[in-house]
């Protein structure tokens, strides 16, 4: 795969935008009003490009993981691809925002990675005494497996937070009681 490793990197301009967003977020979070204004402006400008490029990487990562897990078997490739499509649809829901689409791609990619690392780990252990792998190799494998699981859980948490906090809520009066409704209003 010539240039395959380069393809998982975000382009330099997107990296720059992410660095700027990271810096502005930090300053805005510390209470700098001007930084918050700049952050909103920068988000309007950069968000669509970042979402598009990062989603591309997500799709590419999923394909790479599918190819590895299926070991070239077209039936397994199709099955996994279909499974990811179903997950994507289920998690993103109806009319997702661009940010939700990106966070969904992330959840799906992380899930696929956890599954693959679990299978690879199980295969190593299944070999039993037939051909022992070194303890340092197992240690590395466990580390990869743990960090993939952590990343997967963080991805779910992030999507839930964004859904919960960034969807506008409204207050309605029902039977003389005030009820706060959070939900699908911005769509």
């Amino acid at each position: 795969m010539p240039g395959a490793l380069e393809r998982h990197h975000l382009p330099a301009d997107v990296q720059e935008s992410l660095d700027e967003l990271r810096e502005l977020s930090k300053r805005a979070e510390a209470g700098n009003r001007e930084a918050r204004r700049d952050l909103r402006r920068k988000l309007r400008e950069a968000s669509p490009v970042v979402v598009a490029r990062a989603s591309d990487i997500g799709r590419w990562a999923q394909q790479l993981l599918i190819d590895t897990a299926s070991a070239g078997d077209p039936l397994t490739q199709d099955a996994l691809s279909g499974r990811l499509d179903m997950m994507r649809e289920e998690i993103a829901g109806e009319n997702p925002t661009p940010l939700e689409i990106l966070l969904t791609e992330r959840v799906v990619s992380c899930w696929m990675q956890v599954e693959l690392f679990d299978v690879l780990m199980a295969a190593q252990l299944w070999r039993g005494n037939e051909k022992c792998v070194s303890p340092s190799y197992l240690k590395h494998m466990i580390r990869w497996q743990e960090s993939a699981t952590r990343r997967y859980l963080a991805a779910i948490k992030c999507l839930v937070q964004v859904r919960r906090l960034l969807r506008p809520s409204m207050q309605i009066n029902y039977a003389e009681q005030q009820v706060n409704v959070a939900g699908d209003l911005k769509r």
Binding site: V50, S109, A155
Partner: protein, 101 residues
């Protein structure tokens, strides 16, 4: 591991580590020394090949993890920026609405 020749006869010793000390352990002489020595060389070569295979496998895992890491980082930065731009701030890992927002 050392194969020594003394008085036209072969003697084979293995080096065994015991804590910080390395001890020379006698294995055998003559034909036994030769066979044990060749066996050890074969085993060591096999082990080295296995380590190389493991190293290549770990590199492959790293290449598989890298794009997902990149995606995760970009998504995190963007989600955080959106939340902070909407007036939230983090408190003990949870987002809360900032008073000034």
């Amino acid at each position: 591991m050392t194969l020594e020749r003394r008085d036209r006869r072969l003697y084979y010793y293995r080096s065994v580590r015991e804590g910080e000390q390395v001890r020379k352990v006698y294995v055998g002489a003559g034909e036994i020394a030769r066979i044990s020595h060749e066996g050890d060389i074969l085993r060591r070569t096999g082990q080295e090949a296995e380590r190389e295979r493991e190293k290549a496998e770990l590199k492959r895992l790293e290449a598989l993890a890298a794009p997902v890491e990149e995606l995760s980082e970009a998504a995190d930065v963007l989600a955080r920026a959106h939340l902070i731009a909407s007036g939230y701030h983090r408190h003990k890992g949870e987002y809360r609405r900032a008073r000034s927002a």
